[in-house]
């Protein structure tokens, strides 16, 4: 299970990445992340929706209402071009951090 801080740090790039795959709504985004991480990560709704609304205000995503499969209205979110740029930036940062940690935690170089 991730720490609270790490959970908060990963939520934005992860949401952008989920929305880059396809337009989605809050419940589906949470479910997708739960599935991808084998139930290791599950964000609270209290964190997800304010983030989605902030991303919308920053014009990274847009929202629209659509009738879902079960006949109920759902608020879908779609990534905007600015959101794609932001996601690319996030990817770059996280790859850098991941590379650093991989190198530090990888096998000790054999000097003999």
């Amino acid at each position: 299970m991730l720490s609270k801080e790490l959970m908060a740090a990963t939520i934005k790039p992860a949401v952008l990445a989920v929305l880059a795959r396809k337009e989605s709504y809050g419940y589906e985004i949470i479910k997708e992340v739960v599935e991808l991480t084998n139930e290791q990560i599950e964000w609270g709704e209290g964190a997800l929706y304010p983030l989605l609304h902030r991303l919308e205000r920053q014009k990274l995503v847009e929202s629209f209402w659509k009738i879902g499969d079960n006949g109920r209205r759902r608020k879908y979110y779609r990534l905007l071009p600015q959101g794609k740029t932001e996601l690319a930036k996030e990817k770059e940062h996280w790859t850098l951090a991941s590379d650093l940690l991989s190198k530090l935690w990888g096998p000790e170089p054999c000097l003999s």
């Binding site: 419940y27 209290g46 929706y49 609304h53 006949g71 109920r72």
Partner: protein, 247 residues
């Protein structure tokens, strides 16, 4: 017997009374709650237990409040003010009351701004003994507290405290203090209005005082308007959801 619509209405109530949740957000959260509810039904829970579990998962107003409040506070103040107007416009369904309510808000806002300009100007004129057209020094009584009461009108616009049931919290005591000031201001203005009739004998003075007295009355209308949101029904149409109708 468990009634889904009633349970949703109860769950929605604190959200509807809070200024930080838009109609859209509440509907979005409600659909999320229903998704969770269906999930627990599928897992074999009975409807009442499924709903309780769904609320536990999605959260109530208290547990969701922190993050939403942070988001709300990060919004610029003028957008918050506009959002508050928009929210109130959406929630007050009776057209007459809605118009009156918004009129009350604008009135107190305008009057508050008027005094914000007037007080420094009057003080400036008093200090420099100018014979300006605004206030003469012998009209100093206009600055004896009354403007401050009207500033409370504008404060009520900015405070935007969501109305919740009575408890001994500082917020509720603040409301009581406001209410007492409103009552005081109304009587104070009426008294002055009657005195003015005697002193000046003119309708103008009377109208001036009535005009001032309207501000706190408008504030009462604002609070009244907010309370009516208690009586509103959730705007969620479940009729299209066959899965939920079965429950």
């Amino acid at each position: 017997m468990f009634e889904l619509n009633k349970a949703i209405e109860e769950w929605q109530r604190p959200f509807r009374l809070s200024h930080i949740y838009s109609v859209d957000t509440i509907e979005e959260l409600t659909h999320h709650l229903l998704d969770r509810y269906e999930e627990f039904l599928d897992q074999g829970s009975c409807d009442e237990v499924a709903f309780d579990k769904a609320v536990g998962k999605v959260g109530d107003e208290i547990s969701l409040n922190d993050e939403h409040r942070k988001e709300w506070k990060s919004t610029p103040w003028h957008l918050r003010l506009l959002a508050a107007f928009r929210l109130e416009w959406q929630w007050i369904e009776k057209p007459t009351l809605r118009s009156l309510y918004i009129f009350g808000r604008l009135w107190t806002l305008g009057l508050g701004l008027w005094w914000v300009i007037l007080i420094p100007l009057s003080i400036w004129r008093l200090i420099f003994r100018s014979d300006g057209w605004w206030f003469q020094p012998n009209q100093w009584f206009y600055l004896q507290g009354e403007p401050m009461l009207h500033l409370l009108g504008i404060a009520s616009v900015f405070i935007l405290i969501p109305f919740k049931p009575w408890s001994r919290t500082p917020e509720n005591w603040l409301r009581v203090a406001f209410a007492l000031l409103v009552v005081y201001t109304v009587f104070h203005n009426l008294r002055i209005a009657i005195l003015d009739l005697g002193i000046y004998g003119g309708g103008d003075a009377f109208m001036w005082e009535v005009w001032l007295g309207l501000a706190p009355m408008m504030w009462v209308i604002q609070m009244f308007g907010r309370n009516t949101t208690l009586a509103l029904k959730p705007r969620l149409d479940l009729s299209q959801s066959a899965r939920l109708l079965k429950t």
